[in-house]
Symmetry: C2
Subunit: 433 residues, 2 copies
Amino acid sequence: MNEGHPHLVIVGGGFAGLWATRALADAPVRITLVDRHNYHLFQPLLYQVATAGLSAPDIAAPLRHILRHQRNVEVWLGEVVALDPDARQVRLGDGATLDYDHLVLASGATHAYFGHDQWARHAPGLKTLDDAVYLRRKLLMAFERAEAETDPEASAAWLSFAIVGAGPTGVELAGTLAEIARHTLRNEFRHIDPRLARVRLVEAGPRVLASFPPDLTESAQRQLERLGVEVVTGTPVTHIDGTGFQLGGEWIPARTVVWAAGVAASPLGALLGVPCDRAGRVVVEPDLSVPGHPEIFVGGDLAAVKRENGAPVPGVAPAAKQMGKHIAASIRARLRGEATTPFHYQDLGNLATIGRMAAIVHFGKLKLSGVVAWWFWLAAHVWFLIGFRNRFVVLVNWAMAYWSYQRAARIIFGEAEEPPDDDVTRLPPRDPS
Amino acid sequence: MNEGHPHLVIVGGGFAGLWATRALADAPVRITLVDRHNYHLFQPLLYQVATAGLSAPDIAAPLRHILRHQRNVEVWLGEVVALDPDARQVRLGDGATLDYDHLVLASGATHAYFGHDQWARHAPGLKTLDDAVYLRRKLLMAFERAEAETDPEASAAWLSFAIVGAGPTGVELAGTLAEIARHTLRNEFRHIDPRLARVRLVEAGPRVLASFPPDLTESAQRQLERLGVEVVTGTPVTHIDGTGFQLGGEWIPARTVVWAAGVAASPLGALLGVPCDRAGRVVVEPDLSVPGHPEIFVGGDLAAVKRENGAPVPGVAPAAKQMGKHIAASIRARLRGEATTPFHYQDLGNLATIGRMAAIVHFGKLKLSGVVAWWFWLAAHVWFLIGFRNRFVVLVNWAMAYWSYQRAARIIFGEAEEPPDDDVTRLPPRDPS
């Protein structure tokens, strides 16, 4: 366990934290990786769990298992609730404290309701596995309630779905939900026609998938519409309750509204007492360290990093992995008493899936859309499910879902009526030594 | 929808109810299949979900999907809370009522704590998918808490597991849990050695798997012990709380106790106002109808049926399927104004799995145990996952689990600290017409 070596605490087992941890496998440090969950989550496929295409375990692997052979790591299931940069100490929800020599904060992001937190209960977001299972239940139950409802208007409100926010997650959810309504549920109901379900994708900004060039954006919107999604851009949602939402001047009845609009960095950033951007991301030094605290690094969605051209580094998995590896290199440099180097984001391109055989891809000069882009996206994502023993299972599930239009995980369970509390652990206090 | 045909209400989409429904596909009846869940559950593999070998959707398929092409069936998500045999009416939890001409009750069984209901919160049982997800979380969290615990005694209590009841479920859970502790978690913890976990299987009766002949029972116990399970028979558990349990004269610290001892029939049987056996099973006529109510049939675990030799028909899936089919035949006979025939249970033999490469099989003269029996069991169960599009996925998961000792679904989610409420539906009242 590298006793006597400096103690590195890494908060967050996502792409940034896990890649940093792995890259320090043979480094002379004692690593404690702290995460609220016992698993690493393959976030890019979370929408597939929410739409019943995959089951939760397909996209999650236990951190302890991934790191079982890396003897300089201890995995700690817990939630960091406070940190003291001067005392070099973090405190966990169970009261335990950890002293560190180096600290990596990679606790990611959560939803933001732009000051409308009361919308949260009516329009759940999709960040955690529990969010996904809850959302799956909510989406499937809406069809059940429409079927059970005798008043046609009330039934129609249950068949009215809205996704707020047309970023990648919103687009994926809208496209897949339209497919479920049009194909997956065919013949299954006796009182409703699921194909009459309305799936609205509403975006306050001027276009969907705004991180792509306009021509690809237009293609994405056409592909969405072909799948049966009604796209409304340039109009903000001004109110949401359990019965519907206000879109510009129009009140739209909808019993199911999903929030895919706002992202806010994990609150841990604010605990550092250094400047953060509007989303709460920590404005880091070029080497991803915290101003005034060279022993603290921030990576992944929690870090506000600019590219050479001044554009922000996007909150995508490849960027988080790159940051994690760079932080590991910076820590090695510090351990050797050498200078750290600035982080350079290597843009691997931008992919977004829209639905069945629909996607857009942007790699420098290369622009793809439609079927080709979709296969490209599929190959990339299956490939990157690395370290998951069930990658093959995912492939099988997808293949079957593709040919049968069916979705392997279409069961309603996890009885919570409200999104479950995210803190999985009630661990007893413990001496960190 | 066979308007004008007699209305058959089938309560329960398990093996008995679903097989009865399917067997009436071309019969001149309007069928309403009522279930609390939207899926048919392959109960024999529930323990695999509880022990993280399979994910919940692997063993559940949506009833609507299974029956989508059977036009004389309407699937209704709801829970029957009352029935009036004289008015021929059932009432659902949401207040809706269903009038029937014929009624099939196949609502199965639940756990029984023999009058010690206060044990339920300390020793959860395993009957539903939510039970399984909750149990998985509880089992995996126990190792996490042992790891976080600094007091050796307290840590040992978290590594002390007990399964109460050595029927098939108790044996499966004990054998698999021992494998998890000894193999699956190897190398993953830094403060505890999971192999030191103690897995006790305690049975008040004289032997494990008492439904098998004594020689196979002895083999089963030897196989359990080889897997690392401590088997204690002939000793009743007299007290259970969150810290341990009283076994005969001994108090055994154990933070995790699982209840696999008692089964009680669904409370619906009692609503009939006819004689039930001690477990609450309805004592039915030879044709599985209810005494005095030829229009009501009872099947599956809710029915108390004797075999020709006077022995009870066991509460296993093949028996439930046979009853379901027989009930369908009886209803057809009634519709034709013909006499019904008595139910004859065809014993297809008795299988029980114990763990990795360990099982016992009893087919008439044929008795197998160990590796051969295990492959036999595996083949039979994978084969009988019929109607599940993901049968192949199950096979893949198992193959991988077998070779790697890993378990695909080893993630802690479903944040409920308590077993979730089983009533999934809050459907608005609705006119059954």
